[in-house]
Point group: C2
Chain length 240, copies 2
């Protein structure tokens, strides 16, 4: 019997994930951007905790073909090439590039889960929902842990919804998967709003903040399901 | 602007609750039992962490009019008068009595929240949902924290649903209350299943365990809303 659990914030992640299929979600916007960037032809994404670390990555690899992307306080970092809007990641802007990438919540969640022992971490968003469910259904490992990046330590609605979407769809695909109560609650939550997902995502704190800053289109884009078949995996300090 | 947050397990409670309206929920079954016991005419309930502490309470107060209630592994504790089934708490069994009461999750959550500085902790369940919402709507304090007892450290579906029910109904009653994303998620969850609440509660891990042990009627009873107007409050080490 495979068991699926959800950590609503990374604070709940405490190590020992060596044999666990680990997934990280940051719908607004890091994992949505990561999916988009790979679809747009980026070669790889190297997540870093700080802007300074991203700059060091570029110094180490050489400027050719290395872009800096991400945000602080939701906007582009001074001197960076790309912000954290999915729309900025196009074949023209990122095709063939390595992207050193840092965001407030998503890249930290990825590193925390990797540090907790997960050798490979799947990056999930609504954009690649079905592809992630496919990948998990084909995974042999006994335990699945979906970690929501949340927003500055707090539970975020959109990440909880996306975790619930994966749980709800995976139990249909693979009845051998057992949900913990936390996963069951998230799946019920998603099923209750699946027909009005954009509205539900837009009601969250972070979505409201982004909308007030002019990023309402990013919120709508991030709530679109199955626009990609990419399954980005973070392993050995890079996402491919 | 009043802010309502939910802690899905007591582990998220870290102190500083001196000015916070605090609520503890353990639908299966401690807070449901507490509501029932007061309705049945119990004089007061003294929650204790361990069975030994409950026995000490009785020794201190004298045997007259003091009953021992609660559970370990869901069943009555050896030598105790009452188990943790709401149905056991009747006017005949508990009228006028002081009950020293210990359960695996609920009484620990109450003590943890009290130790975190909350001078008065409301005990909530589906049984007294509307009464708790009334009380919170009339409370002047700026912050409300609903703490779910959970089940042995894990998130529990039924407590999350009940916290969501309070959040969903309180924002209708008092539009000045702002939900955090965690509270918003729980409210959406509850609204999605409010018309089939018994089924939703029964699908949880703890409900399934209780049903397998012969306590299915307790699960159905605990999912009944507004059967009581009692608002038990834990203060100065006792609930009245």
């Amino acid at each position: 019997m495979r068991r699926l659990d959800i950590a609503l914030t990374p604070a709940g992640v405490s190590g020992g994930l060596y044999e666990t299929a680990a997934v990280v979600i940051d719908v607004l916007r890091a994992t949505t951007v990561i999916v988009r960037a790979l679809d747009a032809g980026a070669k790889r994404i190297i997540p870093t905790l700080d802007p300074e670390d991203a700059i060091r990555v570029r110094e180490r690899l050489g400027r050719d073909g290395v872009l800096l992307g991400g945000e602080r306080n939701a906007v582009r970092i001074d001197g960076f090439d790309l912000d954290n809007s999915p729309a900025s990641y196009t074949p023209e802007s990122v095709g063939g590039a390595t992207i050193a990438f840092t965001t407030t919540n998503g890249t930290r969640a990825l590193q925390r889960v990797a540090n907790a022992g997960a050798p490979r971490v799947i990056c999930a968003a609504f954009a690649n929902l079905a592809a992630v469910v496919d990948r998990l259904a084909g995974d042999e490992r006994a335990h699945i842990l979906i970690v929501c990046a949340g927003t500055e330590g707090a539970v975020s609605l959109e990440d909880t919804l996306c975790a619930g979407a994966i749980a709800a769809e995976l139990v249909v695909r693979d009845p051998g998967v057992t949900l913990t109560d936390g996963a069951r609650a998230a799946a019920l939550l998603y099923n209750g709003v699946r027909e009005r997902l954009v509205e539900a995502v837009a009601s969250g704190d972070h979505a409201q903040k982004l909308a007030s800053m002019g990023f309402a289109a990013d919120v709508v884009a991030a709530a679109q399901r199955n626009v990609s078949t990419a399954v980005p995996v973070y392993s050995d300090a890079e996402i491919t």
